[in-house]
């Protein structure tokens, strides 16, 4: 392996170990089980069992937990290095700051994507048992786009962790994620209904903020709508890659300028 690949893989491994040794995932799984288990045995009006509402709730949990894990893992990449001063031995090694950023980002991404895969496997099994439809095409599309969501969210909170305090970063990223998932689609509509200063603010948000709702295929997956075109999937992925690249470029400028 070339030295830079060795460096990146060492840094990535660190981020992955950080996630798995904290046992966050176990907590998340127990929590999800506790929330979902009672619903699985519920028959409203004593009639036949419905499955979509459990699927929707399970997917909501998947989104919630994946966002928390993605934001959390990547927000924890740098601040502890500064606090415990491990950044000094790290940067005293023959690595450029750009490589450190790339390695850590890829590690956070690998960690959260692995968690995402586990979540979707669990969801796929649950939905398969309940609905009798095993891993339809729309499931794979949902997973594919959700992965793009992780690409953006981890880059965003990495940038935030270098510019804001830890709590400010998590609050901002959390609000942005939830806000865009809920209102992102309706921003232009909301903007046209506003008087002038608010209108421009909303339009600015519409153009600048990450459109995380692009990655959200829950509606189609739960209600068994047909899959979307692969062209759209690719476009959405390109959007995610560009957005993440912009965040990382900014982060690398910040990191390069930073004095320790």
């Amino acid at each position: 392996m070339r030295p830079i690949a060795l460096q990146i893989s060492a840094l990535s491994k660190l981020a992955v170990l950080d996630l798995y040794r904290r046992k966050d995932l176990a907590v998340v799984f127990v929590l999800g089980g506790v929330i979902l288990a009672p619903l699985l045995f519920f028959t409203p009006f004593g009639v036949s069992t419905a499955s979509r509402y459990t699927n929707e709730l399970a997917l909501l949990l998947v989104w919630l937990f994946s966002a928390v894990i993605g934001l959390g893992v990547s927000a924890r990449l740098f601040p502890p290095e500064f606090e415990s001063r491990t950044i000094y031995p790290l940067l005293s090694k023959p690595v450029s700051r750009g490589t450190v950023l790339a390695g850590k980002y890829l590690g956070a991404l690998a960690a959260s994507l692995s968690a995402l895969a586990v979540f979707y496997a669990a969801y796929g099994l649950l939905a398969g048992v309940r609905q009798g439809v095993w891993f339809p095409l729309i499931f794979w599309q949902a997973l594919f786009l959700h992965a793009a969501f992780m690409v953006v969210v981890t880059a965003l909170s990495l940038l935030g962790s270098l510019t804001l305090t830890a709590s400010a970063n998590l609050t901002m990223c959390g609000l942005l994620t939830v806000g865009m998932l809920v209102f992102g689609q309706r921003l232009p509509e909301l903007a046209t209904a506003q008087p002038v200063p608010g209108k421009w603010v909303l339009y600015a948000i519409h153009w600048i903020a990450p459109h995380l709702e692009f990655f959200d295929l829950r509606q189609r997956l739960v209600h068994e709508w047909p899959p979307i075109g692969w062209g759209v999937c690719v476009a959405v992925w390109l959007y995610a890659l560009c957005y993440a690249a912009a965040c990382l470029a900014l982060a690398s400028v910040v990191l390069r300028r930073k004095k320790f």
Binding site: M1, P3, I4, L6, Q7, S9, A10, L11, K13, L14, L17, D18, R21, R22, S84, R85, T86, Y88, P89, L90, L91, S92, K93, P94, V95, S96, T99, K259, F260
Partner: protein
């Protein structure tokens, strides 16, 4: 040949001039002790030697290269003042991480780890996560990571603090051993007795300025004083009262 050169280096943080026109050079194969009171600017100088930031003025060169260039750091081993290494790793994983950062392959990392861990006395604690380590044990892990890639120049920031007497002796022997192998060691310290024992030369810093530099014998002159007295005299402190003269 010089392993390390600082020329007229100035670094200010706001109004505080942490390093103020420091010129210093260290020969290859030499052990140099970098002394000074708290806040004298030792750590700041070391950070510039490692390229963490550039000096406001002056020139820094390490092993013939600009330290801000990552390639310059390939042959430098650094141990920071205080670092709380990743609490969720054990010392082997820590060394694997740093080895990877140095571009070492898996086998060479394993080989070096096997020699270094017993050498810094962490064989028993090798499997425990670092969060369970004491301060001195973390310091030992720090020494191991600085030596991991077999560097030619070692920059150690207060390596003796927190070590028990036995470990101090071992570290002293280790540093002397490194000199024998032709390595250069540059370390800051408050342990004047240790410095006196092993240093070829000492440099004494006061408010960012180099006030004295030379071998202990040169600095002592005819009086045959020990390093502690020299230190106090150079810093202008009254030996009895500890007041500034």
């Amino acid at each position: 040949m010089e392993a390390l050169i600082m020329e007229e280096v100035v670094k200010a943080f706001g109004v505080v001039r942490a390093v103020d026109g420091l010129s210093l050079s260290v020969q290859q194969g030499e052990i140099l002790g970098f002394l000074g009171a708290n806040g004298a600017g030792k750590t700041t100088s070391i950070k510039m030697l490692l390229g963490f930031f550039r000096p406001d003025r002056g020139r820094v060169e390490v092993l013939g290269k600009d330290p801000c260039d990552p390639a310059a750091r390939i042959k430098i081993g650094f141990m920071p003042e205080t670092a709380y290494y990743y609490p969720f790793l054990n010392v082997r994983e820590l060394l694997a991480l740093y080895g990877g950062l140095c571009g070492m392959g898996r086998e060479s990392i394993a080989r070096r780890t096997e020699t270094l861990i017993p050498r810094v006395g962490l064989s028993e604690a090798g499997k425990r996560p670092l969060r369970t380590y004491s301060k001195g044990m973390l310091q030992r892990a720090g020494i191991a990571q600085a030596l991991l890639h077999d560097p030619d120049l070692l920059i150690l920031d207060e390596p003796f603090t927190g070590l028990d007497p036995l470990a101090r002796i071992q570290l002293r022997d280790l540093i002397l051993d490194l000199r024998r192998q032709g390595k250069t060691v540059f370390f800051s310290s408050h342990e004047l007795s240790e410095a006196e024992l092993i240093c070829d030369r000492v440099a004494i810093l006061r408010q960012g300025r180099l006030v004295s530099c030379g071998s202990v014998r040169e600095l002592a002159g005819d009086g045959g004083q020990n390093l502690e007295r020299i230190f106090l005299k150079v810093l202008g402190v009254d030996a009895q009262g500890g007041r500034l003269a």
